[in-house]
């Protein structure tokens, strides 16, 4: 038999001025199941709570209803009080008679009547409440960082510095990512390698960090605190433990015509190579598509010359399975393909290049040793025209609808560096808007115009074509309402950026949500910007949205703080209001698993007794309470009505509906 206690709060005059609290408490005394009803000035006060605790003990209450302010305000307070008195905290229901009643109604009669209904509704619900206990799940004290660019490096260093083990999984042969390809960085123009490579070295030397380069995520199981991840270590045909990075193999390799992807394909490299001088790990890798030995079986020169016997043509992909408490996704970006932008002549003219290619052309370690030379004939370009927003802010279907955010600043940087280094060069920039929010950013851009005399043209380019060996850039100058054609030697396209395509597979494995542009979705755009809605998964850098290096580093450190906050706990408390299937009713149709945004539902084969000694194995849904967030999407989707939500069960809500409608 249920023994319900009702407590009506005055909230000083906040409730009592419009709701006849004494009458409400009086009426509740005759409600079926109610054995105690009281009213008090401030239920949330120490004395009010004492009143509740005493009543629970004295009257042996099985459930309580507090008619007071919003549950968003004091539900936790009253639950704690109940718990202290030995009542399960989930046997407490709040009737919101302040925000939803006394504060919005003026007529005492009307408000009192409504308060009665609201309290009755809460009583109807609490009668169906069941004691719930928050579960616990253990935390594996190790983090996984996917992606070894500046975001992944920063997150890994911060987590490791706090004393936790971190693995960096990088799909390329070296960590460093896009930042390693850059020449200088805005707004201070310090050299990218100078600030990045020490951090790469820190990663390599950190006793808590394990770098798994040339590796990819193969499978992810588990949930927050206890992920189990399978990592594929791709065959690099070089024994990482033996290679000393001496580069003799690179010198001797006869197959030297592979495109150097680190230099954006602007020059070539041997089949066996170390991506760049400061690569971490400083270990060679063989491109199997290019290696003569791996393709034809004949050659083996590198093996012959390798002094430490590191070359292994028989090497195969290997798989490692490891456990992690938290995962940071930092997969980065790539510039978009320009195949839909033939009006800029990128495919037809060698001297039409992307900004990232220009970074390599200007980099001292690049294909031209930092001397700016046109790719077509190796001459110094005298007139350089930049085109911004190539594929950004494009809703026509050819490009991306978003602003890529970094192009305005790096174009200003390029223009400035060129004018600084080659003062006789004429530099033009076509722009739609110059967007430079950020500390010292607009000042930086203005310096390009005012100090370095870069010619900014408000307008867009319609066509780039080759005429008599010159690149003719035809565009509009909206300020002067003119159409201009600039005879240029080099054209640089600020191509839009997009998330690294491999992020799609990773997002699927992690059940992390992704938007229509393939950016990972954060849990809350303002207040939880580094967390994925999937518990235990955190987002850093460009994979979450366009951002520059300072922002990426901030986000990576924020991720690290979140990860550390998770890993210091030994156990995680789980929300007990989770979905739960009635296995006898479940028909194993998978609909609930399909709607679950968190991947909390899996299927298990379970043996059921049929009576008469017979058994039957059926496929039934199983909810992982550590992962379920309790939204209830699955409960409504379930065609057989097997799925229910603890704390908000169908029966409870139905009884609330009934209580409200009853006349």
């Amino acid at each position: 038999m249920q023994r319900i206690g009702v407590f009506i709060c005055w909230c000083g005059s906040n409730i009592a001025a419009t709701v006849d609290v004494e009458r409400v408490a009086e009426i509740m005394k005759s409600e079926p199941g109610v054995v105690y009803s009281a009213n008090y000035q401030y239920m949330c006060s120490e004395n009010g709570q004492q009143l509740i605790k005493q009543a629970i003990k004295e009257h042996n209450l099985t459930g309580i209803v507090v008619g007071a302010c919003s549950p968003r305000m004091h539900e936790a307070t009253f639950r704690k009080a109940a718990e202290a008195a030995g009542l399960n905290p989930y046997m407490v229901e709040i009737a919101n008679i302040r925000e939803h009643c006394s504060w919005i109604h003026k007529d005492m009669e009307e408000a009192t009547e409504k308060a009665v209904v609201l309290v009755r509704t809460a009583i109807a619900k609490v009668k169906l409440n069941a004691p719930l206990t928050a579960g616990e799940s253990p935390v594996v004290k190790r983090a996984l960082v996917i992606g070894g660019g500046i975001a992944g490096i920063q997150a890994a260093l911060d987590i490791a510095d706090a004393g936790f083990e971190v693995d960096i999984v990088e799909k390329n042969a070296t960590i460093g990512g896009r930042m390693a390809q850059l020449d200088k960085t805005f707004p201070t123009l310090d050299c990218s390698a100078c600030i990045l490579t020490p951090k790469m070295v820190d990663c390599a030397q950190h006793e808590k960090i394990d770098i798994l380069s040339y590796s990819e995520i193969e499978d992810v199981k588990g949930f927050v605190g206890n992920f189990s991840v399978t990592i594929r270590k791709k065959a690099r045909y070089v024994d990482e433990t033996k290679c000393t990075g001496c580069k003799i193999c690179m010198e001797k390799c006869p197959s030297k015509k592979g495109l150097n992807t680190f230099n954006m394909g602007l020059n070539t490299r041997p089949a066996i190579h170390i991506p760049f001088a400061q690569a971490i790990p400083n270990v060679a890798v063989i491109d199997p598509e290019q290696c003569i030995k791996l393709k034809t079986g004949k050659c083996g020169i590198c093996q012959k010359f390798c002094g430490v016997g590191a070359i292994d043509y028989e090497q195969k992909d290997t798989f490692i399975e490891r456990q992690y408490g938290a995962i940071v996704v930092a997969t980065g970006f790539k510039p978009i393909s320009l195949e839909s932008f033939n009006e800029y002549g990128y495919d037809d003219n060698k001297d039409v290049i992307t900004s990232l290619e220009l970074e390599r052309l200007m980099n001292a370690a690049g294909p031209t040793n930092g001397v700016l030379l046109r790719p077509s004939d190796g001459e110094h370009p005298k007139v350089i025209t930049f085109i911004q927003c190539v594929g950004s802010r494009d809703t026509s279907g050819c490009g991306k609808p978003y602003c890529s955010k970094v192009c305005c600043m790096y174009t200003a940087k390029h223009a400035m560096l060129i004018r600084e280094k080659y003062p006789d060069t004429e530099v033009h920039v076509f722009y739609i808007d110059v967007r430079t929010p950020g500390k010292n950013y607009d000042e930086f851009f203005r310096r390009a115009v005012e100090q370095y005399g870069v010619d900014y043209i408000k307008g867009m380019v319609g066509k780039v074509y080759n005429e008599n060996g010159k690149l003719m850039v035809q565009g509009s100058n909206l300020i002067d309402n003119e159409q201009v054609t600039i005879e240029s030697d080099l054209v640089v396209l600020a191509a839009a950026i997009e998330p690294e395509p491999s992020v799609r597979k990773i997002a699927t494995l992690l059940t992390a949500s992704i938007d229509t542009n393939n950016f990972l979705t954060e849990s809350h755009a303002k207040l939880r910007p580094v967390e994925s809605p999937t518990a235990g998964v955190y987002l850093a850098g460009m994979c979450q949205g366009p951002k520059d290096i300072p922002e990426t580093v901030s986000q990576a450190s924020a991720c690290a703080a979140k990860v550390i906050g998770l890993l210091v706990k030994d156990k995680l408390k789980t929300n007990p209001c989770v979905a739960t299937p009635d296995e006898m009713m479940c028909n194993g149709c998978s609909q609930c698993a399909n709607v679950c945004a968190y991947g909390a539902i899996t299927y298990i084969d379970k043996e059921f007794r049929l009576g008469g000694g017979k058994t039957e194995v059926r496929r039934v849904a199983s909810v992982n309470p550590a992962v379920c967030q309790g939204c209830g999407a699955c409960t409504v989707t379930c065609p057989s009505g097997a799925m229910d939500l603890k704390g908000f069960s169908s029966k409870q809500i139905m009884s609330e509906v009934e209580a409200i409608c009853k006349k």
Partner: protein, 259 residues
């Protein structure tokens, strides 16, 4: 095989060369072009205004005829192709235009964009195949030839779906098939000046000149086109910069077809 063919007004008069050579070459390649009955002039320009229905009806009539006669409608003149293809798209996707056009026409069965509009070049590529043309060539056209696309075949690319609007290849492939060397020049997809010639002859003069100069600079010895108006503008304004011909004339030459 037989294919329904829409010649259009100019091909019956000033551009007879285009029509005659096309038919003979098609025949030589095993395709019979069957001129549809009672065709009417397409109007030469696609009416963009969303409330223009009457001006689209002749195209719809031709399309409906093709729908019942093999399902394909072959076009040759770039302007006809542009008008008919875009009108067909309207009939397929624009409920308002389809409803009103069918209301006017009162066909036995409403027309909803079922026919496929095929340009002669597309026919050469997909029905005959450039490889087969290559085999049929008896008199390779060993010249440097600039393909002139103009605007009507390519744009708007979403509807025309003819080729890459900035970097088309179909006429170049055709030139290779008949033994010529294609010359790629940047103004091959720029407008010649079109109908503006009638009111302002300066603009077409500049535009046509630019096209021809651009082709000449890249080494072209002659220009080919599929459009009678382009041919006219380039010839009149070119002042002999380069000879301009219909692409079918070169096809006839290569196939050894006697006109």
């Amino acid at each position: 095989m037989k294919i329904s063919y829409y010649p259009g007004c100019t091909l019956k008069t000033k551009a007879k060369d285009l029509d005659v050579t096309a038919r003979l070459c098609a025949k030589a390649l095993g395709v019979e072009m069957e001129e549809i009955e009672n065709w009417q002039c397409c109007g030469a320009v696609y009416p963009m205004a969303t409330d223009e229905i009457a001006t689209k009806l002749s195209a719809v009539r031709a399309l409906d005829h093709a729908k019942h006669n093999g399902g394909k409608l072959l076009t040759l003149c770039s302007a006809c192709h542009n008008v008919i293809k875009r009108t067909n798209e309207d009939m397929k996707t624009n409920d308002d235009i389809r409803f009103r056009a069918n209301n006017y026409l009162q066909l036995d069965e409403p027309y909803g964009g079922e026919a496929e509009v095929l340009h002669y070049l597309e026919m050469l590529k997909t029905v005959v195949g450039f490889d087969n043309i290559k085999k049929a060539v008896v008199n390779p056209v060993k010249r440097k030839i600039g393909a002139y696309y103009g605007c009507l075949l390519l744009r708007p690319s979403g509807v025309m779906a003819f080729d890459n609007p900035e970097n088309p290849t179909i006429i170049e492939d055709f030139i290779r098939a008949i033994g010529g060397t294609p010359v790629i020049y940047p103004f091959r997809n720029e407008c010649c000046g079109a109908y503006v010639s009638l009111k302002n002859s300066d603009l077409p003069k500049q535009k046509s000149k630019k096209v021809l100069m651009s082709a000449k600079e890249k080494g072209a010895e002659e220009i080919i086109t599929a459009c009678p108006l382009c041919l006219y503008n380039l010839q009149v304004n070119g002042e002999g910069t380069l000879p301009v011909k219909y692409f079918t004339e070169l096809l006839a030459e290569a196939l050894g077809v006697q006109v």
